[in-house]
């Protein structure tokens, strides 16, 4: 922008001169029209308040029939669609069975309860030893101990078998996700038309809630670990694709020029120059894929992934808090180990490794040799001493009863308090807000959103924010969508009310900030399932519980973006303001917060996205929104119903995202930051 050089020290005057004066008037008129319509329009236009049943588009039915046709009749000539899905399952089943046999079940002959174990799985000591070796190789002693400690935790608390099943799924899904993501990313970088096709798809897939992926996968690939691996792949590949595209684009143009100048062919250019040059950021993608895979493998327990996710799910269904919390802690341990290991791997692998000049197998590959020795020794010893092969049950600690007692104790002593808090919130905040949203005329909301989009981002955005609510109403989901909006809105509000002040306080205190950062980094590595358990434990099921879990999940971005935004403000500006005699309070409100506003808005955006993705999972604790629709669809394997509800959630996410982004970019312009 031409005004980008405007002095930052005079935001007040700059703002006045740049803000078009008619803007607030237009908004006021629009709001007045909307409110009038809402209050007095009902008798005149009932159809604008309740979408007429006769006009509901039966999209869900159509999709379901299409899927049925795919499965029963579709054919590519030589083979049918079902052959294709069976083939994919069979191919993925090979590495999964291998990983699961190695880590958990052992190699079996036959199936079911009559199966005979030919070979035992890896001894638990061997797995821990391998993890520690890996940790040592990647990041030294501390990492080795941390990773080993996390895995030992799994063994000691009796979560070993489940955890290894979960790990096996990840070991198959994550590498494939990385490879596919990279290939798509490279293709999109190389061919413009691929990018044009892939990008909108990526945008959509990022906003569709995870449950919605599960429904068609369940329908096409059945129930079981292989289907779960496929769902995980579908979930983890898009972010890797996006990161690949971004990293390849971020390679300095001089490097591209170099590639051309030395006469690279297209293929050499891609694999010898671009991909290696982008290695560092690609590795960041790898870490993300691993963590997303973990999250998804846990959720995919609903379509038969088994493992820790299944334990949590089963405990939730039984309301067995002890078992649920134990499995939850195990997930946390696994998540921490995988996150730290993959971060260290990213660092290690993106830094070039010097050629070792040493000769001899042991000197050149000390870790490999140690790992082999460990495997052989523990396997051999395992035949003699059973405690080496499987962790002895006598030494297992179960905290399940302990946790159940804690919950019981809380409920005995604090039941009334908790219940009072819950009811007060429900009666005074949640229910009125829910009613308010439920009363709004769908047509009014749709038009108003279209208007907001037009004002903030031009006619294209306006058209988008007009059509998406229309889609929701036309597919007959307006009421459920409003419940989603209410739960998401109220959770995002509370997350912001807590997160933004925390961010402000932490931002200017370096020590505190490093602690807060560690806390939110760790919170963000935890699979969303984990958040449900404590909330259910204290408040049982219902909207309030869902809200608590969502707030806990969505608070991290609110804190992070606020703090980062404030920390990014130029220190010279703060100094200058201090020199002009501003009080600390004035500096905070007039300078820091003002300049951090765009960043805080982005944080709000992320908070809403997080809230939506968590909200769907809270369907397990009995909400009545679109998430519940998806969940029901999942239990009935009703693809159409699940997808339509999923798309509606995506529509809500897209509306919020685009409107807030447009608002943030306007704010940046106004502040002369762009």
């Amino acid at each position: 922008m031409a005004m980008s050089g405007a002095p930052l020290l005079e935001p007040e005057t700059a703002q006045v001169s740049r803000r078009p004066s008619r803007l607030p008037v237009a908004w006021l008129v629009a709001i007045a029209v909307f409110v009038t319509f809402w209050l007095y329009g009902k008798p005149l236009f009932p159809a604008a308040f309740d979408y007429p049943k006769a006009y509901v588009i039966k999209l869900a039915k159509w999709i379901s029939s299409a899927m049925k046709w795919l499965i029963n009749e579709a054919s590519f000539g030589l083979f049918s669609f079902t052959d294709l899905t069976r083939f994919i399952s069979a191919v993925l089943d090979v590495p999964y069975t291998l990983a699961a046999s190695l880590l958990s079940t052992g190699f079996l002959e036959g199936s079911g309860s009559s199966a005979i174990q030919l070979l035992p799985p890896l001894p638990w000591i061997a797995v821990i030893g391998l993890v520690m070796l890996l940790g040592h190789w990647l990041g030294g002693m501390r990492l080795s101990l941390l990773a080993g400690g996390c895995f030992l935790f799994l063994a000691v608390f009796g979560q070993w078998t489940s955890a290894m099943i979960t790990l096996a799924s990840i070991l198959v899904a994550a590498p494939l996700g990385v490879v596919f993501g990279l290939l798509f990313g490279v293709a999109a970088w190389r061919w413009h038309w691929v990018e044009r096709m892939v990008m909108p798809l990526l945008d959509l897939m990022q906003t569709i809630p995870v449950f919605a992926y599960l429904v068609p996968v369940l329908f096409l690939f059945g129930f079981g670990p292989t289907a779960a691996v496929i769902a995980t792949l579908i979930f983890a590949t898009p972010p890797m694709t996006r990161i690949s595209i971004l990293s390849l684009r971020a390679v300095p143009s001089e490097i591209t020029d170099l590639g051309h100048m030395v006469g690279c062919t297209e293929r050499q250019m891609t694999w010898r120059v671009m991909v290696p040059a982008a290695r560092e950021s690609l590795m960041v993608g790898m870490n993300q894929v691993i963590m997303l895979s973990l999250n998804m493998v846990i959720i995919a327990s609903m379509i038969g992934a088994g493992g820790l996710g299944f334990d949590v799910l089963a405990a939730l269904r039984r309301l067995d808090f002890g078992a649920g919390l134990e499995a939850g802690f195990a997930i946390v341990a696994l998540a921490i180990a995988m996150d730290r290991l993959s971060q260290a791997a990213a660092e290690k692998l993106s830094a070039p490794s010097p050629d070792t000049q040493a000769s001899g197998l042991v000197a050149r590959h000390p870790y490999l040799v140690a790992a082999l020795a460990l495997l052989i020794a523990t396997t051999a010893l395992g035949y003699v001493i059973p405690g080496i092969r499987t962790y002895p049950e006598a030494l297992q600690l179960s905290t399940g009863t302990f946790w159940s007692e804690v919950v019981a104790w809380i409920n005995i002593n604090y039941f009334d308090t908790l219940e009072a808090i819950k009811n007060a919130m429900l009666i005074n905040v949640l229910i009125p807000f829910k009613r308010f949203l439920g009363d709004l005329p769908w047509l009014g909301v749709t038009v108003f959103l279209g208007f907001a989009g037009y004002r903030l981002g031009g006619w294209r955005l306006g058209l988008l924010t007009l059509c998406l609510p229309l889609f929701i109403a036309a597919t007959g989901q307006w009421e459920k969508a409003m419940i989603t909006v209410y739960l998401c809105g109220i959770s995002a509000l509370f997350a912001s009310l807590i997160g933004i002040p925390v961010g402000i306080i932490a931002a200017t205190r370096d020590r505190l900030w490093s602690w807060v950062q560690l806390a939110i980094d760790t919170l963000q590595t935890l699979p969303s399932f984990v958040y449900l358990m404590p909330a259910v434990m204290l408040f049982r099921v219902g909207d309030f519980t869902a809200m608590i879990a969502v707030v806990a999940f969505a608070i991290a971005p609110a804190i992070r973006y606020t703090a980062l935004g404030i920390r990014k403000v130029d220190p010279k500006l703060i100094e200058a303001s201090r020199a002009m005699g501003c009080t600390e309070w004035q500096i905070l409100t007039r300078v820091r917060l003002k300049l951090a506003l765009p960043e805080i808005l982005l944080g709000l955006n992320q908070t809403i996205m997080f809230a939506l993705s968590m909200l769907v999972i809270t369907a397990l604790v009995g909400t009545r929104d679109l998430g519940q629709e998806v969940y029901i669809a999942l239990t009935k394997a009703d693809t159409g119903r699940g997808l339509v509800a999923g798309l509606s959630i995506a529509a809500i996410a897209i509306i919020a995202d685009r409107l807030i982004s447009a608002g943030a970019s306007r704010a940046r312009h106004r502040l002369g930051l762009e």
């Binding site: 020029d257 100048m261 030395v262 006469g263 070039p352 050629d355």
Partner: protein
């Protein structure tokens, strides 16, 4: 002196960035003025450039940031496709060359050094230098031998297995230079090779560069935004402003007769003694120069002056191979120095 042949020729070369630039250029008969370009929302990065680079010379393109130097040098190797005009390399029109022919030419006849070095972070110094040869498909032993030779040449022997991030800026650029020379290019492009370095290092690298050139006699296109660097290194200079070449000529011509007030701004503070070469002031040799002090024909008068301090009446002037080709008299030097 014989007139050297032109190795690389640009004829009426244009580069306009923006949508439908080619149609725009054609519709303006190939010569749109600045206003028309701006009105069409295009960026006139390179406009109507004619120049020829001779065999064995250092041709410097000098201009302030944004004047189009990088774009021009990339047009010369067709890293950027020109909007209009012709680029001839050894008589061959590069713009008519096929993709595979361009790969061939770049692999074997062109070398380029970049402002920010453009080293591949995952390769060692040795592998970086050997990279162009590897791309050509040369076998490992041969390419590493050649790479070691080049590393030796730029004075980095012993650093072969270091990684770029372990080197200082000056060392990194030496790697860049070694890499660009590994294929024995016929034309050598350097895009602000020393601009990212500290002044002291820059000076050292310039000396190093001149040392290499007296050995290698490459045909060089050297880009810089530093006028002092230009007159130190150049056989000929082209000064760019807003995508156009405003003046081209030897450093002496430019300093002594700046074509526009814009050029004069650069030359105003340049001492003549630092520009005028001994070659321009020397007289024919008389045969008795062999035993006295000597100076290179490329050196400038300011560098020659200290050699007169011990009272010598004249110096022998030598060419790149060390042969005496003339003599420089004390009086000529003194009178030039007095002019300032």
């Amino acid at each position: 002196m014989t007139i050297p042949e032109a190795k690389l020729v640009c004829r009426n070369v244009w580069k306009l960035f923006g949508a439908e630039a080619e149609e725009f250029l054609v519709s303006h008969d190939g010569h749109p003025d600045t206003d028309a370009i701006a009105a069409a929302g295009l960026v006139g990065a390179v406009r109507q450039v004619d120049l020829d680079v001779h065999e064995g010379e250092i041709f410097v393109i000098m201009g302030l940031s944004g004047s189009g130097k990088s774009t021009l040098v990339r047009l010369m190797s067709r890293l950027i496709e020109p909007t209009g005009g012709d680029v001839l390399f050894k008589g061959e029109n590069l713009l008519k060359a096929s993709q595979s022919r361009m790969i061939e030419i770049r692999r074997h006849q062109m070398g380029m050094v970049f402002q920010h070095f453009a080293l591949l972070p995952h390769l060692t110094v040795l592998d970086n230098v050997a990279f162009p040869l590897d791309i050509q498909g040369m076998d490992r032993a041969a390419r590493e031998a050649r790479a070691r030779e080049m590393i030796e040449l730029v004075g980095l022997a012993g650093k072969e297995s270091a990684f770029p991030r372990q080197l200082s800026g000056g060392q990194q650029q030496r790697v860049g230079i070694a890499r660009s020379l590994a294929v024995e290019p016929e034309i050598w492009f350097l895009d602000e090779p020393f601009s990212a370095l500290d002044p002291l290092i820059r000076r050292e690298m310039q000396d190093e560069f001149m040392r290499l050139q007296t050995k290698l006699h490459k045909t060089i296109v050297f880009i810089t935004h530093d006028f002092d660097e230009a007159i130190r290194l150049a056989d000929r200079i082209a000064i760019m402003k807003d995508g156009e070449i405003v003046q081209a000529g030897t450093p002496e011509e430019i300093v002594l007769t700046p074509a526009t007030s814009y050029v004069a701004e650069f030359t105003r503070n340049v001492a003549r003694a630092k520009v005028i070469r001994t070659r321009s002031l020397m007289k024919d040799a008389q045969g008795d120069e062999e035993n006295g002090a000597r100076i290179s024909a490329r050196a400038n008068i300011a560098e020659a002056a200290p050699l007169f301090l011990d009272g010598a009446p004249h110096l022998g002037v030598t060419d790149d191979d060390g042969r005496v080709i003339g003599r420089l008299d004390r009086e000529a030097v003194v009178s030039l120095m007095l002019q300032g």
